[in-house]
């Protein structure tokens, strides 16, 4: 899988991009030998992860054997040009997809060993998603959308409290009863983020979470992310935005399905 061209990726530590202001940038990948850099189990890690899509007899290699590791409390930004495999990687981190080859481990357990039910359970308990195009449910109000991941718990009162609180923190306290079609793009985005947080995940995955937000609202979201990383939640976000990348503890630069540890993040 990892032929010499693509190389064993990310041998050295990746320096944080300029101005990231984070001293200790944990390597995006650890090549076998120096894996024991941190005693804590990573929330999620992958070795030699390959993802291939077969469409019409043609094989697209979306990920070409990459290694990664995300620790609790980390804020990781994934940048890279369109089609470089960012969403594919995020799906892998979110247990929505399994690699064609290689190993992905969630809290030390190989995800291949999970059956569909266990995967679903893990998604619910440990992972929060913010999708690239929000994917709010049009028939439900803002607060109900936030409640969705907890609806089946049948604790309506508690769930309503948590959801209301989250929306208030997102600055949407006055939009609780609004339907998605009555919300602006940025407001939908924030509802989607609140929904991702409602189950108190240990890993928050976001695909372009600030794409539709103005600087102020974006800052508010980033501050929120910062706050939850302080609580030990790992945040992995795909972004085209330098500003967000600078905010991150660490930037993973994906190009054509491989991790490039350039100092210059290729955004956009």
């Amino acid at each position: 899988m990892t032929d010499s061209d693509d190389g064993p990726v990310a041998d050295g530590a990746a320096p944080a991009p300029d101005g990231a202001g984070v001293a200790e940038a944990v390597p995006a990948a650890a090549s076998g030998a120096d894996a024991a850099g941190d005693a804590a189990t990573p929330i999620i890690s992958g070795r030699d992860v390959v993802k291939e899509y077969v469409t019409g007899g043609e094989t697209v290699r979306a990920l070409r054997g990459i290694d990664f590791r995300v620790d609790p409390g980390e804020f990781v930004a994934i940048v890279g040009p369109s089609g470089s495999g960012k969403s594919t990687l995020l799906n892998m981190l979110g247990l929505l997809d399994v690699p064609t080859s290689g190993v992905v481990e969630l809290e030390g357990v190989d995800v291949e060993t999970f059956d569909d039910t266990e995967q679903t359970r893990k998604r619910k308990d440990t992972i929060g998603f913010v999708f690239q195009s929000f994917h709010l449910i049009p028939t439900l109000t803002a607060v109900e959308n936030v409640e969705v991941p907890r609806l089946l718990d049948r604790t309506p009162k508690r769930t309503r409290e948590v959801a209301t609180d989250l929306l208030e923190r997102m600055g949407l306290g006055d939009r609780l009863g609004h339907y998605p079609e009555e919300l602006s793009g940025g407001q939908k985005q924030r509802v989607a983020i609140a929904r991702a947080l409602v189950n108190e995940p240990r890993l928050l995955l976001a695909d372009e979470p600030t794409g539709n937000l103005d600087r102020d609202t974006g800052d508010q979201i980033l501050a929120e992310f910062d706050a939850i990383t302080d609580e030990g939640v790992a945040v992995v976000t795909v972004t085209h935005d330098d500003y967000v990348a600078q905010f991150a503890d660490r930037v993973v630069n994906l190009i054509d399905g491989t991790v490039r540890e350039d100092a210059e993040a290729v955004t956009g």
Binding site: T117, F129, P138, R154, K157, T159
Partner: protein, 393 residues
């Protein structure tokens, strides 16, 4: 949070189902409409059939578990004798028997014949007849009871007098005798199938007839089974090689009529049921469209931790909800239609019989079940989809 919201919160699948039903209003309305039509088809046909059957029985009169015994084709007398009656009484065991005499008579008005009528002779008329006007004396020895049709025709009331002329056998010779009788009672209108139908008859005490001549003996059995046993026993006793008595089991006929009605009704309800099957197909179609339309949404649910069975449950809740709404409305419409049918056939709009209500409830249950079944395949299809694929749009 209102208590209602809290209630919905306890049934999250129904919360989403309800919102989805409301979202696609036209489509949901059409799905509900087909279920409604199906439920009405089953309920109205079934319950209407029952009302029709009842109205038929009303004109037919009650057909009990009676056995009628009369002279058979090989009987030289052409009638039953007192000895025969005794034998029948013995063979029928505890069952009540009513020996019946019968003759024809002319009704004489102002010295000339005004018409003819049947004369029945019984000793215990209360066994057979109900009284409309007047009363039957406890120890009835003279006086006549008049059937309702004749009472109207000859304008007879209790207390009026009527003259009857008939031919009787006296000492082996035919004699014409004419007697005047006082009317004791007018009998209630009887159904067409009633035994010894009195509508066009006069009823007299048996002493007004020949001693030894009985037209028939009615054995009143408790139920169809004993009626059948008694009928067999009587046949065995009388009929060897020669057919001395004829036996007619009325319970048999009642059963046959019942069975015929039941089969016709079943056939019609079957046709109604086809319309519910069609309704089920339409629900399946609606749900399949919903499953395709909400692919992304379902992908989101799967991604945030809904199991496949949760998705199935939500989709089935929606199908069931459509079915339940359709069935409830259908049930209401059916009751209204059946009220109209009842009014037309039975003269009482709210005379819902248990059997009729069974069809209505049956139709409603079938409506819900058909919708539930119809939702299974679409629900399974929706749940089976991998969330990554669904979310790619």
């Amino acid at each position: 949070m209102t208590p209602l919201e809290r209630l919905w919160g306890s049934f999250p699948a129904f919360l989403m189902a309800r919102r989805n039903v409301v979202r696609a209003k036209t489509r949901s309305a059409l799905a509900v409409a087909v279920i409604l039509i199906g439920v009405v088809a089953i309920g109205a046909i079934g319950a209407g059939g029952v009302a029709f059957q009842e109205s038929q029985f009303e004109t037919l009169g009650t057909i009990g578990a009676d056995v009628q015994v009369f002279a058979g084709e090989d009987n030289e007398n052409g009638y039953l004798t007192a000895t025969d009656v005794g034998t029948i009484d013995r063979v029928s065991g505890t069952a009540e028997i009513v020996p019946l005499k019968q003759e024809n008579a002319d009704v004489i008005e102002d010295g000339s014949t005004a018409g003819s009528a049947t004369l029945y002779g019984v000793d215990e008329p209360t066994e057979l007849y109900e009284v409309d006007e007047g009363s039957i004396p406890a120890n009835w020895r003279n006086g006549v009871l008049v059937g309702s049709t004749l009472a109207d025709r000859y304008d007879l009331r209790p207390g009026s007098k009527v003259t009857l002329s008939r031919t009787t056998i006296e000492d082996g010779e035919a004699v014409r005798r004419t007697d005047e009788y006082r009317v004791k009672a007018v009998l209630a209108q009887a159904g067409q199938a009633d035994i010894a139908n009195p509508n066009e008859a006069f009823v007299l005490p048996t002493r007004e007839f020949d001693d030894d001549v009985f037209a028939q003996v009615i054995v009143r059995a408790d139920d169809a089974t004993t009626a059948n046993e008694t009928a067999m026993a009587i046949k065995r006793t009388f009929n060897g090689r020669r057919q001395l008595v004829g036996v007619f089991e009325r319970g048999d006929v009642a059963e046959q009529i019942d069975e015929a009605f039941r089969l016709i009704n079943l056939f019609l309800v079957g046709i109604g049921a086809i319309s519910l099957v069609v309704a089920g197909v339409s629900i399946a179609n609606v749900m399949l469209m919903a499953a395709i339309e909400r692919r992304e949404e379902i992908g989101v649910l799967r991604a945030v931790g809904y199991e496949k069975v949760d998705i199935v449950r939500i989709m089935l809740a929606e199908a069931t909800l459509l079915g339940a709404i359709g069935s409830l409305l259908g049930g209401a419409v059916t009751l209204a239609i059946v009220a109209v049918i009842n009014d037309a056939l039975l003269g009482a709009p709210f005379a819902y019989s248990a059997a009729a209500l069974q069809y209505v409830v049956g139709g409603m249950v079938f409506g819900v079940v058909a919708s539930l079944l119809a939702g299974i395949y679409p629900a399974w299809r929706a749940a089976r989809e991998r969330p990554v694929e669904a979310l790619r749009g």
